[in-house]
């Protein structure tokens, strides 16, 4: 029998690491929990992940898996009732947890920025789009509004918005969903951040528009070498845009690896089930394989593997939860079967 390769949490070897660099974003065994009358809900449990310069990293999982909470924690925007109980978040090597609120405020927007899920509700409806896109220049660089608007025109042109010098004077309701989302991308990119976090940026957009926005994000990565953390539940989007993938389930990373490894040879039964449940247009499935049961409540997490109750391949060993086990040098899965 082959010897199990135990790789430390979330530290699969990527080419970048061999080159001895520093990841743009590094989350090291982060745990976040909420406390209320029902007890303690640890919604992020020992999560580690890295995003390297010029890399698009997908964080996937169903609703309630903790992926959006991870993004908010990185940005320092987690609700005040959430407490980080352990772990660290580093942006290009410097710890965000050690920073004060006002320090984080200077980093957010300048060095890291976010493209939110529902662009229509993220914009101020009574403020002209140009003013919103230009605001980072005024806030972070103390530039004049005139200069800021000129910059906004430039940025909006860069994200392929038609007629940017006219569009800056319009209000969000005059924009279509795709145009608003491109304006949000322009705003996020305005100060040349090292890290861009996109939380389901194309949910609610039409497919042809979604394709345009995704291609834009891919181009931005190619041109500016921006590191991108891409949160989504759509495996198709992951296949089209991501280099590296982390799969999250009930607050845990359950599998991670390159997009090829995760989508063509998944090792965790949860990842496998997600793939089988996704309707495809490449081939017609005779039967979609659904996942029985539902995601466990954070207040009543099972003792062993968190997916065991819904897993078709569970066995005795699942009563204890495995670590992320090395499948290959760059691919790990939290499942005894991947040994």
């Amino acid at each position: 029998m082959t010897e199990t390769i135990h790789v430390p949490l979330g530290s699969a070897v990527r080419e970048h690491q061999l080159a001895d660099g520093v990841p743009t974003l590094s989350i090291d065994s982060l745990s976040v929990q909420f406390t209320n009358r029902r007890g303690i809900a640890r919604v992020i449990d020992e999560v580690s992940l890295q995003v390297w310069p010029g890399e698009i990293v997908g964080l996937i999982g169903e609703s309630g898996s903790g992926k959006s909470m991870t993004a908010l924690s990185v940005l320092g925007l987690a609700p005040p009732t959430a407490s980080i109980i352990s772990g660290d978040i580093k942006l290009s090597g410097s710890s965000l947890r050690a920073m004060s609120k006002s320090q984080i405020r200077t980093v957010r927007g300048k060095h890291m920025a976010m493209v939110p899920q529902e662009p229509m509700t993220a914009m101020n409806p009574i403020m002209r789009v140009g003013k919103q896109v230009g605001e980072p220049y005024v806030v972070h660089q103390a530039s004049t509004w005139k200069h800021a608007i000129a910059q906004a025109v430039l940025m909006m042109g860069r994200v392929h918005l038609p007629l940017p010098n006219r569009r800056v004077h319009e209000y969000p309701h005059q924009f279509s969903g795709g145009m608003i989302q491109r304006s949000m991308v322009a705003m996020a990119l305005s100060l040349g951040p090292q890290l861009l976090i996109a939380d389901e940026p194309t949910t609610g957009l039409d497919v042809t528009i979604q394709a345009q926005v995704l291609r834009l994000l891919r181009d931005i990565r190619d041109i500016y070498q921006t590191a991108l953390l891409f949160i989504t539940h759509d495996l198709g989007v992951v296949a089209g845009i991501c280099d590296w993938v982390y799969v999250m389930y009930a607050g845990r990373i359950v599998e991670q690896g390159s997009v090829q490894q995760i989508l063509t040879a998944p090792k965790h039964p949860y990842t496998q089930a997600l793939l089988l449940a996704t309707p495809s247009i490449i081939s017609r499935q005779t039967e979609l394989v659904s996942i029985g049961g539902s995601i466990p409540s954070f207040f009543e997490l099972p003792e062993g593997c968190r997916f065991a109750d819904r897993c078709v391949r569970r066995f005795e060993r699942c009563a204890t939860e495995p670590d992320l086990i090395g499948v290959s040098a760059s691919h790990t899965a939290r499942c005894w079967l991947s040994v």
């Binding site: 497919v207 528009i209 394709a211 891919r218 539940h233 063509t264 490449i282 017609r284 996942i291």
Partner: protein, 337 residues
């Protein structure tokens, strides 16, 4: 072939837009739409927002009247029916919507939700009604203990199951499903789609299935109609339409749908620009401004649906006799129009 259950003939719907009387305009939400559904079959309608999919559902349900054209259901012309007769038709025709929670009365329990259609249509006695509720819950895989609960206390998947149970409790012959799974996670979506197919096998009902997700359409539908700005631009058996789309818009849609194979390139489609403003539709073919294959004639001439292979059609001028000889490679050969 089974009998024709629903026939939509040249149906259009214009909405009069508000405002001062001399400034009022009209919005053509659905234009000259034709299709039919046979008993026990599934027709998928796919299109982006503003393409008129939901208006079409409301027209078929008789919730709004068409501006022109005819809708025939079970041999009856809907617009000729009295309110009372329409109620009888509705018993045969039920709906499931995207946002299940919004389609429930928040003060009703699941029992009330399922009882309402039976009361409205005066079906059964007290005892037999309970049997029917039990049966329909069994069909959708829910426990009886759910009956006392309020819809908002259920999960998204359970709520959609209750909505389906409500739709099938009267044993309809047609169910109109308007984006029934687009608010659900993939694993839950898979369950609901499998459930819809299973119910169809058991009860032999037909679906008019609206979705913007081509993967879902491919999984559930026998035939598909692609809509763009209120018009049907392509129809045919689902497998054929996906294998060789004959309208550039369908091609773009098929290209744009994310697939889970990382080895195949994605999002490189040639479709340009934004969806046009539905209040000011372009002249000629509505798609010409975004079409990589547009002819100069496309800016002036509204293409009709060209039929080919007996059961397929596409509204693209490249299928016209005048242009077919120099058509791009993707235009399949066919005989006449």
């Amino acid at each position: 072939m089974s009998e024709i259950l629903l026939q939509v003939r040249d149906v259009s719907k214009d909405f009069v837009l508000g405002g001062l009387p001399w400034r009022r305009g009209t919005l053509a939400a659905v234009e000259h739409v034709n299709f039919e559904i046979r008993a026990g079959r599934t027709l998928g309608i796919v299109g982006e927002s503003g393409s008129g999919k939901s208006t079409l559902c409301r027209l078929v349900l008789g919730l709004i009247a068409p501006s022109s054209g005819e809708i025939w259901f079970n041999g009856q012309l809907l617009s000729a029916l009295s309110t009372k007769e329409m109620r009888g038709v509705r018993r045969q025709m039920q709906a499931v919507f995207q946002n299940a929670s919004a389609s429930f009365n928040p003060r009703q329990t699941v029992r009330d939700v399922l009882l309402t259609p039976l009361e409205v249509h005066d079906v059964g006695t007290r005892d037999s009604r309970f049997d029917m509720i039990e049966q329909s819950l069994e069909h959708v895989g829910l426990d009886l203990e759910i009956l006392g609960r309020a819809p908002h206390s259920l999960s998204g998947g359970q709520r959609q199951r209750v909505a389906i149970a409500r739709a099938i409790i009267l044993r309809p012959s047609l169910v109109i499903a308007d984006e029934p799974t687009s608010a659900l996670d993939v694993s839950v979506q898979a369950k609901i789609l499998n459930l819809l197919k299973q119910i169809q096998r058991e009860m032999g009902l037909a679906y008019l299935f609206v979705s913007h997700n081509l993967g879902v359409i491919r999984y559930v539908c026998d035939d598909v109609a692609v809509m763009y700005l209120g018009r049907i631009v392509e129809t045919g058996p689902t497998e054929q339409v996906f294998a060789s789309p004959q309208h550039p818009y369908t091609q773009a849609l098929v290209e744009a749908i994310p697939h889970t194979d990382p080895r195949k390139p994605q999002f490189n489609l040639p479709i340009l620009g934004e969806l046009p403003n539905i209040y000011q539709k372009p002249t000629g073919c509505y798609f010409h401004g975004r079409c990589p294959y547009a002819l100069s004639a496309c800016t002036e001439e509204q293409p009709s649906l060209y039929n080919f292979w007996g059961h397929r059609s596409a509204a693209c001028l490249w299928h016209d006799k005048r242009f077919i000889s120099r058509a791009p490679k993707w235009v399949s050969d066919f005989e006449g129009t």
